[in-house]
């Protein structure tokens, strides 16, 4: 079955979404991520959405819920790489992703999570 891969790097989990997700796939990612946070005792989650050219209310809600779930599980989430057109559309749609930490790229996202690899 199709799945979004989750990579572990130290106490971080990295997800790069590279396919146009249908709703079930988005829900599966949410389930997989929360399970992995507990299993790997991860402290941070970095979600790279730079390849996504559309984020609608369902995907937006999944991202914001995942961040909230991670927080409850003692992990911080940073969403990185949102395309400008996606940001404009999301806000106009009425979804500002309040409470979700964002960064412009992976490097800055890592820094937000307290990791500096450079």
């Amino acid at each position: 079955m199709e799945r979004i891969p989750i990579l572990r790097m130290g106490d971080l989990l990295l997800v790069t979404i590279q396919v146009d997700m249908h709703d079930r796939l988005a829900m599966m990612l949410q389930d997989d991520l929360t399970a992995r946070i507990v299993k790997e005792q991860a402290k941070g989650v970095l979600i790279d959405i730079s390849a996504l050219d559309v984020v609608d209310s369902f995907i937006g809600r999944m991202i914001s819920n995942t961040a909230a779930m991670a927080r409850v599980l003692d992990a911080s989430t940073v969403v990185v790489g949102m395309q400008p057109a996606v940001a404009i559309t999301l806000v106009e749609l009425g979804l500002a992703l309040t409470g979700v930490k964002t960064a412009l790229n992976v490097e800055r996202g890592m820094a937000l999570l307290g990791k500096n690899y450079l």
């Binding site: 559309v54 609608d56 106009e92």
Partner: protein, 156 residues
């Protein structure tokens, strides 16, 4: 029949007035019966939007609005279909998407259009959000018979 139209005069008359381009490519319908169909629709709308050279922001708005309405057709309408038309009013080109289902219909369209209202588990942003993202918006719904929603985006 409940009929709500953001720009009622211009939109209602636009349906028959504008010349559609000849050729089968300009008109297409897709079924909306599964999650995968929604993904297929997003791809098709993106291709059409690129073909008439919509700006990247407008492409994104149209594809996002399409995704919201397709999900509504699927979740609340019990599935249906979408008709996509590339059209012209003689000056500019645009894309019209019409979502049709034969589901339970919407009892109170005004309420359904307000942000935060949902009868399901969603955020209640789909219908109102799609209306904001499109240039023209029309919805017709009759309880027990189904719902038709049309959006139009013009190339600026």
């Amino acid at each position: 029949m409940v009929n709500y139209s953001a720009e009622s005069d211009t939109f209602a008359s636009s349906i028959g007035k504008f010349d559609e381009f000849p050729g089968s490519d300009e008109r297409a319908s897709l079924p909306l019966r599964s999650d995968e169909h929604v993904v297929a629709l997003r791809k098709m709308v993106r291709e059409r939007a690129t073909a008439i050279d919509l700006s990247l922001v407008d492409q994104t708005k149209l594809v996002t609005a399409a995704s919201e309405l397709a999900r509504n057709t699927l979740k609340y309408g019990g599935g249906g279909e979408v008709l996509a038309v590339t059209l012209s009013d003689g000056v500019r080109q645009g894309i019209r998407l019409t979502f049709v289902d034969k589901g339970p219909g919407i009892a109170n369209v005004e309420q359904a259009l307000s942000d935060g209202f949902t009868t399901g588990a969603g955020l209640g942003l789909g219908l109102g959000g799609a209306r904001r993202l499109a240039d023209e918006f029309e919805i017709m719904s009759k309880p027990g018979e189904g719902t038709t929603v049309s959006i139009l985006k013009w190339k600026r």
